[in-house]
């Protein structure tokens, strides 16, 4: 019986990289988002240097600041995962180690995003 699969679907994901331009695109989009967020982050870090814990809690408990910090942390960490994936792809050539490290990076990204968001919610609810 003739397969209903289209010729395009049969070859999708079969190139040397097993994927198309998605990785490149996500790196670019996250880096554009990180331009204003990084400038804001630098402004906040300089503004909080040398202050005490009470000031930091007050500042980070404000909804806009909490949301921007969560966005900065989450998008940075996602961008980090994309970058570390390229490093692993380039330098690790043993299939088992490579898959282990790629999964480890993804797990670390999710765990760190969750931890940052948890900390920010905790700060805001004191």
């Amino acid at each position: 019986m003739k397969s209903a699969e289209t010729p395009l679907h049969k070859v999708q994901g079969l190139g040397a990289s097993h994927s198309g331009t998605g990785h490149f695109w996500r790196t670019g989009v996250t880096s554009i988002a990180l331009i204003p967020l990084s400038l804001w982050f630098a402004y906040v870090m300089l503004g909080l240097v040398g202050t005490n814990e009470v000031t930091m809690v007050q500042y980070l408990a404000h909804p806009w600041n909490a949301i921007l910090m969560a966005a900065f942390a989450a998008i940075s960490l996602y961008h980090m995962g994309l970058g570390l994936q390229v490093v692993i792809d380039d330098y690790v050539h043993t299939a088992g180690t490579k898959i282990f490290l790629l999964l480890l990076v993804r797990a670390a990204v999710i765990a760190l995003i969750a931890t940052c968001v948890f900390a920010l919610i905790r700060i805001a609810s004191v």
Binding site: I35, L46, G47, L48
Partner: protein
Amino acid sequence: MADLPQKPGRVRPLSPHLTIWRWQVTMLASIMHRATGMALSAGAIVLTWWLISISDGPEGYDSFMVYAAMPLGILVLFGFTWAFAFHFCNGVRHLAWDLGYGFDKHVASNTGFLVIAVSFILTLAAFALIWTGHAGYLQ
């Protein structure tokens, strides 16, 4: 790929790597972009630690500051600041390339020197603000 079996006794040629080329600023900036990106992954862990320490109350924050205020801690934070400034500036350079701008040989070299210089200026400016008492303005 090393996981593909090779016939014994037959050493296949590898493409030339880092050691064979004369250093160029474009190559240096490219290597630095990857190195600072990897360093900033450690920075992301410190950022997470900082946020958790604040959420732990004054004692939790003190436990972070014990390390952050040490000479070694300040040196590490100086390093993260420079890595952040460089990765930011060179990232903008990469985005310009993605849009098709600045790929001309001499332009790429000049912007390479530029982002390295600007990254150091921004880092020194940030620490100058801190050491002259102009930071901490959100209090």
